[in-house]
Symmetry: C2
Subunit: 333 residues, 2 copies
DNA sequence: CTGAAAGCGCTAACAT
DNA sequence: ATGTTAGCGCTTTCAG
């Protein structure tokens, strides 16, 4: 393991100069810098991030924390696509990702304490928060972006998609196809779901359609729940002609559930998803859904995080746009 | 940030004793150990892994490296499910995961050098390797498990599934349904693919069926390639009655491709997958596929890794079994 | 059973 | 423009 001392010796200079030179400080003359860089390259020198972190400098590492109590992470394709987009954006800036996994939902204080010991430069959260936790999180002094929450403070930025608008676009699309009995699957207490459900309600109201409680199904965003919901709606006497799912995974489950009861999508019932997972182009039928412009939003996440880390920027609330994608799973009534 | 010195002061003892006590060394008396633990708990003390790593001790961190040159990570559901299973198994042992992401395929030396600077206790690789890289990797002195490669050395264990047998089971299943013209999609140079393709060939040979080159399609394990392959096979004059895909994602793509040319699965053509992704239960038709018993194999990976890390165990070759799952995408001819 | 000293690799503050 | 000193938090000798 070659250190700055080794290089210093070779370059007949001191470790400090090497350290400075390698970070391209102006305090080092062009000539020595060149020389040092050359020697470093020759020996394949790489700075030790642990030592760096220990003295309080940048570790060039970001923590990525997604906590799922009920949902199985591996099955949440949406977060996975986010993860990838973020990892990619981080790699572009030469940052590494420290993935915080734990099978228990740690209290937020412990989480922060744990992470701050790893001296990450910033963190990206995708956890659910209660009121108490929101308060604690707002106090954080390590630059943090939280995905899917409308929240901010000095060092905390919330990046969330305009889900109310997204579902609005979906429902309008269905209305324009002549649907009137439109179900909603995926109501729950998460902030995301609240926005999506609210988009559903407000759009129906605008169209003077009463919300039928039988057509609103509370559930998690899990495929398995989707299947149950599909079966449940299929059994209804007064069946809906269209189903709005709060996620693609729900939609996939719903379609499977409907199919198991002998109903075809979109011939018998139209179904819409939300997220535009890659797989949505490959299901049969392909899914009408809402694209979250994930890679752009990941870039936003990283950008704002770096703004906080490197430019002392302050936290903001950032809402990113979404886009309806019409495919085969919806059709005229 | 509370350190062992703070605790030492409170306990009127030295940092060394605290360090020892916290690691439950026998060199500390029961009484002082108790006392120290109590104080530590009170202050929410957490050891600083950076400092630990710097002095060469365990960091309780594992590196996870999956490199994809052509394949988009987020779309590779299979690896994601692996990742999750492994993260879970690691969390059970209180290990953290350091996720190595990079958008360029780093040469293996650089990768190892980079990772070894992070002082991880072990690493899990899922990268492709050429001959040269195999050689270098075998020299590693940091405990390593590589997924999907039949390889081992002192500190290197290869954990791979019995893919030849898996495809064998698939083809036998198709033969038993009366299929004779069976295509194979997903031949390429990866070790995995070689085993799968070899299972295909040997089983057909045993059944005295000649391999028709037109029915073998070289491709990556990507959905998009699957679609192309589906279209290509559909165009054939002498179409296959069944298609064996080397992965579920290929199968999903193939089905979409066939569908786009007006062919139905399994009515017109049977299609099989490989991997048993969670989604395979939700596609229409649901997929006949091969289950990799991923969570068990993840446990094996972690176990063997820990054996190397904590018990100085030596590297092995480990082949894990697989299991055919019959669903809707295959039927009698 | 306990403590003092040294050092892991790096950088910030203070010289020169 | 460069070097010296000190210290980040921890653990591993080596002495009591």
């Amino acid at each position: 393991m070659v250190t700055i001392y080794d290089i210093a010796k070779q370059a007949k200079t001191s470790a400090v100069t090497v350290s400075l030179a390698l970070r391209n400080s102006k305090r080092v003359s062009e000539a020595t810098r060149e020389k040092i860089h050359k020697i470093a390259r020759k020996h394949g020198y790489r700075p030790n991030p642990l030592a760096r972190g220990l003295v309080g400098a940048r570790t060039k590492t970001l923590a990525f924390v997604f906590n799922f109590s009920s949902v199985d992470l591996s099955q949440d394709l949406s977060y996975m696509e986010y993860f990838h987009a973020i990892a990619q954006a981080a790699a572009d800036k030469e940052y590494k990702i420290y993935f915080h996994s734990s099978n228990v939902a740690l209290p937020i204080e412990e989480l922060i304490s744990d992470i701050s010991h790893h001296r990450v430069d910033g963190m990206i959260l995708g956890t659910e928060l209660d009121e108490q936790e929101r308060k604690i999180l707002k106090e954080t002094d390590i630059p943090t972006v939280i995905v899917g929450k409308d929240i901010c403070s000095d060092k905390l930025t919330g990046v969330f998609t305009d889900d109310e608008d997204g579902i609005k676009q979906v429902v309008k699309h269905l209305l324009s196809l002549g649907h009137q009995r439109i179900a909603f699957v995926g109501k729950n207490n998460s902030e995301t779901s609240i926005a999506r459900y609210s988009g559903y309600c407000s759009t129906l109201k605008e169209a003077n359609i009463r919300i039928d409680e039988n057509l609103v199904i509370e559930s998690d965003y899990h495929m398995d729940f989707g299947r149950q919901a599909g079966v449940q709606l299929a059994k209804l006497e007064n069946r809906p002609s269209a189903i709005v799912a709060a996620s693609d995974q729900l939609a996939i489950g719903i379609i499977a559930g409907l199919r198991s009861r002998g109903f075809k999508v979109p011939e018998d019932i139209s179904v819409t998803g939300y997220d535009n997972l890659h797989i949505a182009q490959f299901t049969s039928p392909t899914l009408t859904t809402v694209d979250l412009l994930r890679s752009e939003s990941a870039k936003t996440i990283i950008d704002v995080l770096f703004d906080m880390i490197e430019k002392q920027g302050t936290g903001k609330r950032i809402m990113t746009p979404v886009k309806l994608i019409v495919r085969e799973s919806t059709r005229k009534i």
